[in-house]
């Protein structure tokens, strides 16, 4: 259960865009064809490897329905990464991106890495938002961008992993004070903190028992 770093993610976006499906595909490699409305927030976790380092991802999948907005906002500040998802077959979910982004900028910490995801790309025949539009929105707002499918698993791993890679790079560059856990990053037990130029405390939180 030991890891070099632990990153907290949130998944946000309109209801029905496939947030829970993305998480399930990532953690369990399964697809769920029926829409189980998420109530509040659900939790998932998985270990990945970046730069040969084990990294634990803790992922909170939030409810997209408007009525849960006030609850889900509480999760922004403590997250290191966010997957902002829209549905390429439903234009309105793309149009709402600006308001989601505004929420994130307002409540999250400034260093949060945001990945824009155009989901359901398996349904290309019903496409309502072009890849270029997605790319452009991402570029204008400084986001990473990817189209994927929770159904076919296309790009799902990549989306989660490249978000982690970006965060990892930021750590290496010393952007974060990793001893401050409120950025959604935790240094694992027994890890020699990576960044050379970083000004982190680099202690292991007094957790004597290495496993």
């Amino acid at each position: 259960m030991s890891y070099a770093y632990l990153f907290k993610y949130i998944i946000i976006g309109d209801t029905g865009v496939g947030k829970s499906c993305l998480l399930l595909q990532f953690t369990d490699k399964r697809f769920q064809p029926v829409h189980d409305l998420t109530i509040g927030v659900e939790f998932g976790a998985r270990m990945i490897t970046i730069d040969n380092k084990p990294i634990k991802l803790q992922i909170w999948d939030t409810a997209g329905q408007e009525s849960f907005r006030s609850i889900t906002r509480s999760y922004y500040r403590g997250a290191a990464g966010a997957l902002l998802v829209y549905d390429i077959t439903r234009r309105e979910t793309f149009n709402h991106l600006a308001s989601w982004l505004e929420d994130a900028r307002q409540h999250a910490n400034a260093n949060m890495t945001i990945m824009l995801i155009g989901n359901k790309c398996d349904l290309s025949h019903r496409r309502a938002v072009s890849t270029e539009e997605g790319e452009q929105f991402a570029r204008e707002n400084g986001l990473i961008f990817m189209e994927c499918s929770a159904k076919t698993a296309q790009n799902v791993e990549e989306a989660f992993i490249s978000t982690a890679a970006t965060i990892y790079k930021k750590i290496q560059e010393g952007v974060f004070d990793v001893s401050n856990e409120s950025y959604g990053i935790k240094v694992g037990y027994g890890n020699i903190p990576g960044p050379q130029g970083g000004r982190d405390g680099g202690n292991t939180q007094g957790g004597g028992c290495c496993s």
Binding site: G40, F43, A45, G206
Partner: protein, 917 residues
């Protein structure tokens, strides 16, 4: 000023205008005026101090403040942040306004100003977010008072605050940040969070998202683990709130930190013999955590089951700590030991790997190593605490459930013991096998006359035997030597158990009134026997091998001095003697048992025992397993102190003895219900089938090849006789049943004793009455049928007589024919000798004639015989149907039943007469 006058009006309306109140009103009003309108900073501060003290000391002050003060003070908090002293003062005043002054004074239903004020404050627009904002202030006291104020708000109106806090982004995050603060603030924040997370799933999740688990465990560690103070308790309470009904949080804990931090809290350090009350509470709280994880989340949550299994598998690492606390540690207080044992039971219930692991655990140090199961058995036999017995017994219950191999393992050491071993004193039993220890316990009372140990051992034995035929058979073979060698030979263990059962009943009746103990000894031993006999004919055989057993059991079923449950269980045991009976010996077969029940008890009142038992509280409130209340600051102390149930409390009519509650767990209750159904079915079946010896097989009624007529007739005759006997048998059984019906009906009508106490019951009585009416009509029909049958029997008998007479006359005719024949032959001879050769009949002709006559006679008699037999067969089946129907009849109407009684008497009279024929 506007504001103040507005609120003044409000106060007048709400609280009335008593003089004392209006004095305080005007005083508070003046102070508020000085605070909001005063020009001199110093004067405003003094006013605040005065206001605080009047609100802190005086109900009237609190009321007056509530009516007018909130807007004024909130505006101080909002607009005068720079004046730290004013802000502190305002916060202190608000805290005082929300703190109850003295509960004991004044009438109960009086308005509680503190509660009112909480409500008013939480309704003030944005008050909560204003307070949360104050948590970011630099001044220590401002943050501290703010936390206290929030806690007070939360205690008084929890849901409102929980809802409000969710709508404020970063609200909970602010509170979580307080956990990293200086100790005083941290502890206050901890307390606040425990209130905030009670039954609020979304808040629980956010708190966990914010890293609550890490923070909780690191505080616990800092505070010294289970040796720490009340802060550790608060941490654990918060932890339990986060996990209790929240599978998602359980997954989060398991997947990130794992359960190791829990193990390290359970690990006893340093002075393992010192258990302060605080330490006890801390340990109980962690044990509760373990239990919550084993339970797996909310009852209705579909993911609970998988989550539960994964948790249990991961929690197996805790087993050693649990054994330490529950079994090995001599100094752990009883509640801790109980909780640990219960966790062990939960951990192995339905989990084969964990079960097998427990079976391999060894405790103690060389040379006194023994298996953990043996140590737990010793607790069962020896503890002075009923609670501890129950918890330890639960371990065996869980271990044996659906675990035939485990049962076999335990039973393998149950072997007959030499006298010296069985009755040896208790000491130094570390080297005893499980079986010897158990047998020793079962027969303890021989040496000290106390059935308590026997009863506990019986409970364990019933787990070992449950659903395991092999073990049942094995234990059946155990013979015990007589306690006093001179008194005859050995007896089976089972008989010894029945003896103890009888002993406990007699002890009770000697006592006059029963003590708490005696309420459970009988049921526990009865449960053992019921489990033993279930599905095991040889056990039934063994039980019935001793004649007095049946008699004793029959008495116990109708013994008014014992409890509903004892009677019910005795009835169940009796029923098992019917349904699992494969014996053919008369007197011991299912028939005889059923007859004995019907004669000695009456079927209706026999089955009533089942109903009564199932209506008892024990049955209706049976739970699957032991359950505990959540530990909170207010309940913890009392839970930690309970050393044992009070005997008096146990005798309290409302609460059954905990021992009984654990005996009658849901499984056993369901098992008994199912048995009851089987018993009813089997009884009906028995009463509707004739004995095999009188079954009519048409082929057998034919004359066999080469059978002489006389033999044939003899055979038929004896067959008739047997049928006649059987008819009589059936009739007398019939009469018993009718009597039974009559008696129940009678008690129903003469029974104003029954007093329909509720409308529902009266309705029920009405329906019963209607049923009775129907039944009586059916009975009427049956009666006519019966008299028909009887008259048929009469006719048949006449037939038989007539036939005999005809046979007689036939043989007479034959004789005379023969006579004539001889004469004729003589004549022929005479004629021949006379030389005449012509005329007259030849001898051949005569022979032919004779044969013809004989044949005719035979045919006739045969036809009549078979007619008779057919009639008898018909009658037989009528009697069958009649008895079945009588079985079905429930109760009866008085009037009708008296009639029946008379008729039956008459019927019986007739029978008697027939017998004399």
């Amino acid at each position: 000023m506007d504001l103040v006058s507005k609120y003044q009006g409000y106060v007048g309306r709400v609280f009335g205008n008593e003089n004392s109140d209006s004095n305080e009103d005007s005083y508070v009003e003046r102070l508020l005026d000085r605070i909001s309108n005063g020009k001199l900073a110093e004067d405003r501060r003094t006013a605040m101090v005065e206001l605080q003290s009047v609100v802190a000391e005086n109900r009237g002050g609190q009321l007056a403040f509530g009516a007018m003060g909130f807007p004024v003070l909130l505006s101080v908090l909002r607009e005068e942040r720079d004046d730290v002293e004013m802000v502190r003062g305002a916060l202190e005043t608000l805290i005082s306004a929300l703190t109850p002054i003295d509960h004991s004074r004044g009438p109960k239903n009086e308005v509680q100003p503190a509660l009112m004020n909480s409500d008013l404050l939480s309704r003030e627009a944005d008050s909560i977010s204003l307070l949360l904002n104050l948590l970011a202030e630099d001044d220590f006291y401002v943050r501290y008072y703010t936390l206290q104020l929030l806690t007070a708000l939360l205690t008084n109106s929890p849901t409102r605050l929980q809802e409000a806090i969710l709508t404020i982004p970063n609200g909970i995050i602010r509170l979580m940040d307080m956990l990293l603060e200086r100790e005083v603030i941290r502890n206050e924040a901890l307390l606040l969070l425990t209130y905030l997370t009670r039954e609020a799933e979304e808040i629980q999740k956010i708190v966990v998202f914010e890293g609550a688990f890490e923070k909780i465990f690191s505080i616990i560690k800092e505070e010294g683990g289970s040796d720490g103070g009340v802060v550790v308790q608060d941490c654990l309470e918060l932890l339990n709130n986060l996990l209790r009904t929240n599978a998602s949080n359980q997954v989060m804990l398991r997947e990130t930190l794992g359960f190791d931090p829990l193990i390290s809290i359970l690990r006893l350090r340093g002075s393992a013999y010192k258990f302060t009350q605080q330490k006890t509470i801390n340990l109980l709280s962690v044990l509760e955590t373990i239990q919550l994880l084993i339970y797996g989340g909310q009852e209705a949550d579909p993911s609970r089951h998988t989550n539960r299994l994964t948790n249990i598998t991961a929690l197996v690492k805790v087993l050693d700590q649990l054994l330490m606390l529950g079994v090995e540690s001599q100094w752990a207080p009883v509640p801790v030991r109980c909780a640990a044992l219960q966790c062990i039971g939960d951990l192995i219930a339905g989990h084969p790997q964990n079960r097998d692991l427990l079976a391999t655990k060894l405790l103690g140090e060389e040379p006194n190593v023994e298996s953990a199961l043996n140590s737990i058995l010793r607790i069962i036999l020896r503890t002075s605490s009923v609670q501890e017995f129950i918890a330890a017994d639960y371990v065996f219950k869980s271990f044996c459930e659906k675990n035939p191999d485990g049962q076999k393992l335990l039973a393998s050491t149950l072997t007959p013991q030499p006298q010296s071993m069985t009755y040896a004193p208790y000491e130094d039993d570390v080297h005893m096998s499980f079986g010897s220890m158990l047998l020793h316990g079962l027969t303890m009372s021989e040496s000290n006359g106390d059935l308590e140990t026997c009863c506990r051992a019986a409970s364990v034995l019933s787990h070992v035997l449950k659903d395991n035929l092999q073990c049942k058979e094995k234990v059946l073979r155990i013979e015990l030597e007589a306690p006093v060698p001179t008194l005859g030979g050995s007896e089976p263990l089972m008989h010894r158990m029945v003896k103890y059962l009888a002993l406990s009943s007699s002890m009770k009746s000697n006592d006059g009134k029963s003590s708490a103990r005696n309420t459970y000894v009988e049921p526990v031993i009865l449960k053992l026997l019921i489990v033993w006999l279930s599905g095991c004919p040889s056990a039934v055989q063994c039980f019935l091998d001793s004649r007095p057993h049946l008699t004793y059991l029959l008495e116990l079923v109708s013994n008014p001095a014992t409890t509903v449950c004892t009677r019910g269980l005795a009835a169940v045991l009796l029923g098992e003697c019917i349904i699992y009976n494969t014996s053919t010996d008369s007197g011991k077969d299912a028939f005889s048992i059923a007859d004995a029940i019907s004669q000695k008890i009456g079927l209706t009142s026999y089955f009533l025992k089942f109903d009564e038992m199932q209506k008892s509280l024990l049955f209706t409130s049976a739970k699957p397993a032991l359950s505990r209340k959540p530990l909170t600051r207010s309940t913890a102390a009392s839970m930690a102190e309970i050393e044992d149930v009070d005997e008096n409390e146990a005798l309290d009519q409302k609460n059954d003895h905990p021992m009984l509650v654990s005996t009658f767990d849901l499984q056993f209750v369901n098992f008994v219900k199912q048995l009851e159904g089987d018993i009813r079915d089997k009884t009906v079946e028995i009463y509707s089938h004739p004995k095999s010896q009188v079954a009519v097989v048409p082929a057998e009624l034919e004359q066999r090849n080469g059978e002489a007529d006389a033999d044939y007739i003899k055979r038929l005759k004896s067959f008739l006789e047997r049928q006649c006997l059987e008819i009589q048998d059936l009739l007398s059984r019939n009469a018993t049943l009718a009597e039974d019906v009559a008696r129940t009906g009678g008690s129903g009508s003469s029974g104003h004793e029954r007093r329909p106490s509720s409308g529902a019951e009266r309705v029920q009585v009405e329906t019963l009455r209607r049923d009775l009416y129907e039944a009586s009509q059916r009975l009427e029909m049956l009666k006519t049928e019966k008299s028909q049958i009887e008259s048929e029997a009469e006719t048949l008998k006449n037939f038989a007589a007539k036939m005999e007479a005809e046979l007689q006359s036939l043989s007479n005719a034959y004789n005379s024919l023969e006579q004539t024949n001889i004469q004729l032959e003589d004549e022929v001879k005479a004629l021949r000798s006379g030389g005449s050769s012509g005329g007259g009949m030849s001898a051949k002709d005569i022979e032919a004639l004779k044969a013809e006559a004989r044949e005719e006679a035979q045919k006739e008699s045969e036809a009549e015989l078979s007619d008779l037999l057919v009639c008898l067969g018909q009658e037989q089946s009528k009697v069958e149907r009649l008895s079945a129907r009588l079985m079905e009849l429930g109760e009866d109407v008085d009037k009708l039943l008296e009639d029946i009684g008379d008729d039956d008497d008459a019927g019986l009279g007739e029978d008697d007469e027939e017998d004399e024929d």
